[in-house]
């Protein structure tokens, strides 16, 4: 076993073991912080009752849809901004406002516009995600070597050819970096949206458990969120490394 893997596993195991022992010895009040074994039991319980799969389905659906819309809109707007200075300058102030504004504060308005539940959560996730994809796509398109575009034009390529055969392939590394940042933000959007503007999903369930001081149950959606965050980020990271290898 290589050293990083060995030490990393040891670190995780030590953390969980310490937590369990402290709980078993009565050093931690279980109402305040449940032990790992209690959380595992709560996980099994929520899974077999069908509550967890149902909430997970709702959250993953919102996550996937919000992210997918962000990718389509973000890449399209990013390419437009990358190709045209006028469009870039005109949209810039709004992009930076979206990027820095605390979007969660406008969720009450989003609820009024979109209705309580699914559509609101997808909208919050979309608004949080789309900006990082736009910004990175714009940077990617602007980094494309102009001689490549001139070469395609010289051989009679249309704008369509330029976009799909030169610009998009050449800007893929930066677009992927944007997607990686976007994934994290989409997940935050789903949690925020569900905590405040929904009555289903992992984020909503967490607030219900917390209100009833069922701390073991609160940790189950929390752990699932962490797993989704790590897994999706690793997946895009893998795609990035593969494409880099392919480019060289």
């Amino acid at each position: 076993m290589p050293e990083p893997l060995l030490l990393g596993t040891a670190g995780l195991a030590a953390f969980v073991a310490l937590w369990q022992v402290a709980a078993d010895r009565g050093l931690i009040n279980p109402t305040i912080l449940a032990s790992p074994s209690l959380i595992a039991a709560a996980f099994a319980n929520q899974w077999s009752s069908g509550q967890l799969p149902a909430d997970l389905g709702v959250s993953l659906g919102e996550f996937a849809l919000g992210f997918a819309i962000s990718v389509v809109v973000g890449v399209a707007v990013g390419v437009a901004m990358g190709l045209s200075r006028t469009i870039e300058y005109a949209l810039d102030p709004f992009i930076w406002f979206l990027y820095s504004a605390p979007l969660i504060a406008i969720y009450p308005l989003i609820v009024v516009w979109m209705g309580f539940g699914f559509a609101t959560v997808v909208t919050v996730a979309f608004l949080l995600t789309v900006v990082s994809i736009i910004v990175n796509t714009t940077a990617g398109v602007q980094s494309v070597d102009p001689t490549l575009i001139r070469a395609v034009r010289a051989f009679g390529g249309t704008t369509r050819d330029v976009v799909f055969k030169v610009i998009l392939p050449a800007s893929i590394p930066l677009i992927l970096a944007g997607l990686r940042i976007g994934l994290g933000r989409a997940l935050i959007g789903v949690v925020l949206g569900e905590m405040f503007g929904a009555n289903a999903g992992l984020g909503f369930r967490m607030t219900v458990y917390a209100a009833h001081l069922r701390t073991a149950d609160v940790f189950v959606p929390l752990v699932v969120f962490i797993a989704i965050g790590v897994a999706s980020t690793q997946l895009v990271g893998l795609a990035e490394r593969r494409l880099q290898a392919w480019k060289v």
């Binding site: 990393g8 810039d92 709004f94 820095s100 984020g203 917390a210």
Partner: protein
């Protein structure tokens, strides 16, 4: 084409369309408000002291959580970057927490630290600590080797190595981490106050949202954004001021 001109034209155009659509009730103005109403509401909320008294609470929570997070994040980042085994030991845990939506910890933090300012301070601390620490760790790891050797060659001790080589060398990475932390901390603070609190800007958002008051909510969004902008500008200025410390090293 020049950037400020095109940018201002598009913003003015947007505000004009919003004003017309909202004030003539083309779209229900209670849902979208309009700029002149937002401005009037801002003046009213500022004059009544409502905005100021709540902003002070949020600001105190932000500072009380953020300043220790930066100090602890830089210290932990330097230690982890220099002690390889320790870094490998904590790596999976840190990655998991860094990539987790910290916002999901809000309900449990309220259970632990109560509904008042204390839980918000912890939320700010947690959301700022990890970006600062991870960025410091990455930045230090990049400069530690060559620069340390150079400074050591001139007889520097361990303290001097850290303050004269490692910290200035990794300054851009650390500042990037702090900037990232500002954004995350503001979102968490507002979300935490919205979730449950006694006072604060997020509390106001929640109050006005249950009354569906678009103008007040937009005022609050503008105030929070302005605060974020001010923080980032302050950091830029600070980084600029620290320039000489760094360039002393580059010579």
């Amino acid at each position: 084409m020049n950037r400020p001109l095109v940018g201002s034209i598009s913003v003015v155009l947007f505000l004009a369309v919003w004003q017309v659509v909202g004030s003539t009730n083309l779209v229900r103005s209670d849902l979208i408000s309009y700029p002149s109403e937002v401005a009037a509401t801002l003046a009213k909320m500022a004059a009544s002291g409502e905005l100021g008294s709540n902003a002070v609470v949020s600001l105190k929570e932000f500072v009380a959580g953020f300043v220790p997070a930066v100090a602890a994040g830089i210290a932990a980042g330097v230690v982890l970057a220099l002690v390889r085994r320790l870094r490998l030991f904590f790596d999976p845990l840190l990655i998991a927490i860094y990539q987790a939506p910290i916002i999901a910890f809000v309900p449990i933090l309220v259970v632990w630290f109560g509904v008042g300012t204390q839980s918000k301070i912890v939320m700010v601390f947690l959301s700022a600590f990890f970006p600062v620490m991870i960025n410091t760790m990455t930045g230090v790891a990049q400069v530690a080797e060559p620069w340390t050797r150079a400074v050591r060659a001139f007889g520097a001790d361990a303290f001097e190595v850290v303050t004269k080589a490692i910290l200035p060398g990794s300054l851009p990475a650390i500042m990037a981490g702090i900037r990232l932390g500002v954004g995350r901390a503001i979102v968490i603070l507002i979300a935490g106050e919205m979730y449950v609190s006694i006072m604060g800007i997020g509390r106001l958002v929640q109050v006005y949202s249950s009354a569906a008051r678009a103008a007040e909510i937009i005022v609050l969004v503008v105030v929070i954004s302005a605060f974020g902008f001010a923080c980032v500008s302050l950091l830029r200025w600070f980084e600029h001021r620290l320039g000489p410390w760094r360039s002393e090293l580059e010579q």
